[in-house]
């Protein structure tokens, strides 16, 4: 049975909805193909070149084109890699390294990571900040926050404050943060390559529930952003209601603008019309990644700018 048939049989509503988005055999095959193991080198603990040199003695590394510290690695279990236990590398999916690259935080800045668990992106941002400045790393679920704490510890992050709040709470910090990452909770279509349960459990009503939450979160994030600051909105899903619809909502309600994203990554055309709704042409600047574009998880990334003298 081909991938298309397996998906159609497992969740017909899923197949019907996303065949309207893309319907190539390749798209369906990559949707369920197991992910390649990838890692990010944690430059907070040792220089990139030295870690790569040591790892290369024992493992095959293939650079990930869009992030300097990212590599695909030929190992089935990271517990076999000394650098993993020591916190010198972190298992992180290749496309999930994109949001922090796009956000591009620097040393000394004040950053909010609104939905931070499990912490790979927070650690990546701390690396770019060279452990100087401050990151408020939030997750509303205690169990997930504990995983976040453990991972930030292992990565040697000295500048994080971990909070357990509803993300919308941060709306009260008006015009405060230099940069904000909102890697929003979503229906996780991109995660099907990690777990079949994401396909089995997918429902349209879940997508709509997430969309409403995402709209609340993006408005709070934008409020908390300093004028002149950057907000990156990302999800690991392909549904236009959770991606283009949410960013379009922000563009319509505020003075937000989108910035272009210039990375060596293949992508699919952003959706400008869906179910009778038309979205702003600004969304052409967003990055929509389908699993077959780069053999990764699906992802959506938008770089949002708050104008100087803005809200």
């Amino acid at each position: 049975m081909g991938a298309r048939e397996k998906i159609r049989e497992t969740n017909p509503a899923f197949y019907e909805r996303y065949s309207q988005l893309e319907d190539s055999d390749e798209f369906w095959e990559f949707m369920i193909r197991p992910l390649r193991q990838s890692v990010r080198v944690n430059t907070l603990k040792a220089p990139l070149e030295r870690v790569v040199e040591r790892l290369s003695e024992e493992f095959e590394l293939e650079p990930i084109p869009w992030v300097r510290e990212g590599f695909f690695i030929d190992v089935d279990n990271l517990a076999k890699v000394p650098e993993h236990g020591l916190g010198l590398i972190f298992g992180q999916e290749a496309s999930s390294m994109i949001p922090a690259v796009v956000l591009d935080p620097g040393p000394g800045e004040l950053v909010l990571d609104m939905a931070a668990a499990p912490g790979g992106k927070t650690g990546q941002m701390a690396s770019y900040m060279e452990n100087e400045g401050c990151i408020v790393a939030n997750d509303p679920v205690v169990g997930r926050a504990n995983v976040l704490i453990a991972n930030l510890n292992r990565l040697g992050v000295l500048i994080a404050r971990v909070t357990v709040r509803e993300g919308a709470y941060f709306g009260r910090f008006e015009n405060t943060f230099d940069r904000i990452l909102l890697d929003a909770p979503c229906s996780s279509v991109g995660m099907i390559r990690k777990g079949w349960r994401f396909l089995e459990g997918w429902r349209l009503r879940g997508v709509i529930r997430y969309m409403n939450l995402q709209k609340r979160l993006i408005m709070a994030a934008y409020r908390a952003l300093k004028p002149g600051g950057t907000l990156v909105y990302s999800t690991c899903t392909i549904d236009p209601l959770e991606n283009e619809e949410v960013v379009d909502y922000l563009l319509r309600k505020t003075d937000a603008r989108l910035g272009s994203i210039d990375l060596p990554v293949r992508s699919s055309e952003p959706v400008l019309e869906w179910e009778g709704r038309e979205y702003s042409g600004e969304l052409k600047k967003a990055l929509r990644i389908h699993p077959n574009d780069n053999d990764t998880e699906a992802f959506f990334v938008a770089r949002i700018i708050k104008p100087e003298g803005g809200e």
Partner: protein, 152 residues
């Protein structure tokens, strides 16, 4: 006999006490905020943040523990102190590093006693207790190497 540093907890600021113990034991103390917490005398370290956020669950990293005879560093603590340490650092070759990372005690030739930083190539493997020509292993179980393949 050296005095028990745990007896000093609460008598001077945590940061001052930890930095003094680090200087005594390893000859280097990073400029961080330190806090000693709980009956385990666990040490946490972080950098200041300009924004006051209430109800913070955790800041910084688990840095180590104040022991009755010195200060033991976690893996993270050793990566912070190790690059500047001027004494009590024991370097392992690849074969002993592999065994140490897998959770074994390993033999050393240095005549050294007490808490030391364990180093391997450019990395630091936390603190171990040097005693009778051996390093007693303190790698946490969940962080041990689970594959017995020799490192080149």
């Amino acid at each position: 006999m050296k005095e028990n540093p745990r007896g000093k907890i609460g008598l001077e600021s945590d940061t001052e006490l930890v930095k003094r113990l680090l200087m005594e034991n390893y000859g280097h103390a990073p400029e961080l905020v330190y806090r000693i917490s709980g009956r385990g005398h666990r040490v946490y370290a972080w950098k200041p943040c300009p924004l006051e956020v209430r109800d913070v669950e955790r800041r910084g990293v688990y840095f180590g523990r104040v022991e009755s005879d010195g200060i033991r560093l976690s893996i993270e603590g050793s990566f912070l102190v190790g690059p500047g340490a001027t004494r009590n650092v024991v370097r392992l070759d690849d074969e002993r590093a592999r065994r140490y990372l897998a959770g074994e005690n390993v033999e050393i030739t240095e005549e050294i006693h007490g808490w030391v930083i364990v180093a391997w190539r450019d990395y630091f493997l936390g603190s171990a207790k040097a005693k009778d020509g051996r390093l007693m292993n303190y790698i946490p179980k969940e962080r041990r190497l689970r594959f017995k393949k020799s490192l080149k």
